[in-house]
């Protein structure tokens, strides 16, 4: 199957996602979880429509554009909003993307933030620092449908206030959590961190 990406013809296997043929930034997508289409950083223009590359299959003859002015603006702005609201200190990939897209968060002025959230330490293995959480849901999915089928994580709230929590908001040892570490492995922003790496 052949399609065009930024004017260049490329080959794709049938059923391939656009992500496999187009180079675009990603955040919520992870090969081992079902999360996709949430962060919108991988949006591309396919035949004139905005679609997430991580959740859209390539089609014969498709015209894909990955770096239009609109898409660059979208990525730059999203990164700025994330940086304003969330502590990205342990998200080097996002900091690099900000550099690449020339992000200037301060141009937006005052914006509500999730930075103020307190660190939760309720078990000997890892901590939950939701001031650094962008709500990509990889951890929730890894714990549930995606990898483990344990269902020790879910989501609390709506909108900007939404973030992962445990069933009945219980400390992790009182949940079905088996401390497998999958959620920590898939967290892209250091919101979930092994305690073994914490100094002091």
């Amino acid at each position: 199957m052949r399609l065009r990406v930024n004017g260049k013809e490329v080959e794709a296997r049938p059923g391939a996602l656009l992500l496999e043929v187009a180079e675009v930034p990603t955040l919520c997508h992870h090969p081992h979880t079902e999360t996709r289409g949430l962060c919108r950083l991988c949006l591309v223009e396919a035949d004139g429509r905005l679609v997430p590359a991580c959740a859209t299959e390539a089609r014969e003859g498709m015209e894909v554009r990955t770096e239009t002015e609109g898409l660059r603006t979208l990525r730059k702005t999203l990164l700025e909003w994330l940086a304003l609201t969330t502590d990205l200190a342990q998200a080097p990939d996002l900091l690099a993307l900000m550099e690449r897209y020339g992000a200037e968060p301060e141009r937006w002025g005052e914006v509500p933030r999730r930075r103020g959230r307190e660190v939760l330490k309720d078990n000997p293995f890892y901590l939950r620092d939701y001031a650094k959480c962008v709500n990509c849901r990889r951890c929730v999915d890894a714990c549930g449908d995606g990898i483990m089928g344990v269902y020790a994580l879910t989501l609390e709230g709506r909108g900007l206030l939404a973030h992962p929590t445990t069933p009945l908001d219980r400390p992790l040892p009182e949940t079905p959590c088996v401390f497998c570490g999958n959620c920590v492995q898939v967290c892209p922003t250091g919101a979930l961190r092994p305690l073994s790496l914490e100094v002091g």
Binding site: L38, L82, V111, N135, R158, L160, A162
Partner: protein
Amino acid sequence: MGKPSLLPLLDERLPLTEEKVAEAARLAGVPLAQAWGVVRYYPRYRGLPQGRLLVDDPVARARGFAGLRAKADGTYPPLGLEALAPSYLRFTPKGRFVEWEGRLVPFAEFRLPFALGHGERLLPPEPVESLAQYRSLGGLKALEALQKGHLTPEALFQAVEEAGLLGRGGAAFPTHLKLRAVARGEPPRYLVVNADESEPGNFKDRFLLEHHPFLVLEGALLAAWAIGAERAYLYVREEFEAAIRGLEKAIGELEEAGLAPVPLEVFRSGGLYICGEETALLESMEGRRAEPRLKPPFPVERGLWGRPTLVQNVETLANLPLILREGPAAWRAREPKLFSLSGDVERPGLYELPLGTPLGEALRRAGGEPGELKAVLLGGAAGVFTRDWALPLRYREKLPLGAGALVAFGEGVDLWEVLLGLAHFFQEESCGKCFPCPLGTAVQVEMVKRRERNPSLVADLVATMKGSLCGLGQSAFWAYQSLLEVEGAA
């Protein structure tokens, strides 16, 4: 049939305790994690505000919001009361009430005053309380025709196609395409009537459900039968308690008379704006957080419990008996559309007007004088401010019609205050699933507060929110953008 749905199981157990949530999860066959995510999502499980509540709709925002707000303990999202605004509610341990003419009327008894309706074909000339009355007004002909074998699904599809009926919920998708697509799918198939009217400024579906339930049900049954649905659900905004009672009574009468070819059931909505988005609606019916799904697949292919599902707006379905009765050509020659008119007009209410009526004329019908207005909010929160009085009110025009709300604002109104109300509404109602919407709606509130007019900043907000997953985020900036245009033209 699917599993027992989590939301009704939780509703039966209000007020909730941890044990009751666990029990509901067990009965629904879902992990406690899923049930907890649901409980921490929907307002009625998290806990509703109590006391005297101001309905925070665009009309209240235009009538000295701060003063109105000072007389309340809190606010409540728009509730289809715009024609009566400003309105106050009272939430107490005894129940939910509307303050109306000096009395507290329980939600289960409060219906929009019948006198608000002005029309001939979609609106009844008198309140329709019984099946006999509906029949005497010329109803039931289509249902009786199909019972006698005088109607085929294909004949219905053909009539809808010839009429050119477009979905009345706001998306204006050709109805016959959806009907046919679902009918082609593998059974079991479902119909879900989207009666979760929550777009600020709109009260047409509420009025139809409260005063013309048989018309809506006849349309729903026609569609359900034609697509070969196993069951039809009416997903009704849970606050419309009087409408729900009336629908349940009407369903009973239809079934008793042997006029229901498909089983009908009312489903109480999750109680959030996003529940009106068709895939979020289906998520809530399946017992999850009402968060929109990625499309494709569309509900006509994979809808409720993954089955082919027709999700259709109340007013769209109410037109089906009419199209069959009048014939598609006659119906099309004067296509009826319901417009919810509120704000600074003499006679706010619900007006049935031919599609294509110029905006200025629609306003005059309600006693509004365009020359004395600053602007109209067309469509709702997901709508636009305009002063284009010659604009024909029809689909696929230069401005979106939405579901047909027209909120008029007089010269003295501060439109930025109205806009701030809309911005707060979107921030509150953003589900938080994708990234641009919860971030962008929060940023937008701050920008509107400081009356930000910097064109490049607004353009970047727009470009980013356009990338949202669903229609909520993709339209949340329309009003802001349009206000700057109206200001610029003034």
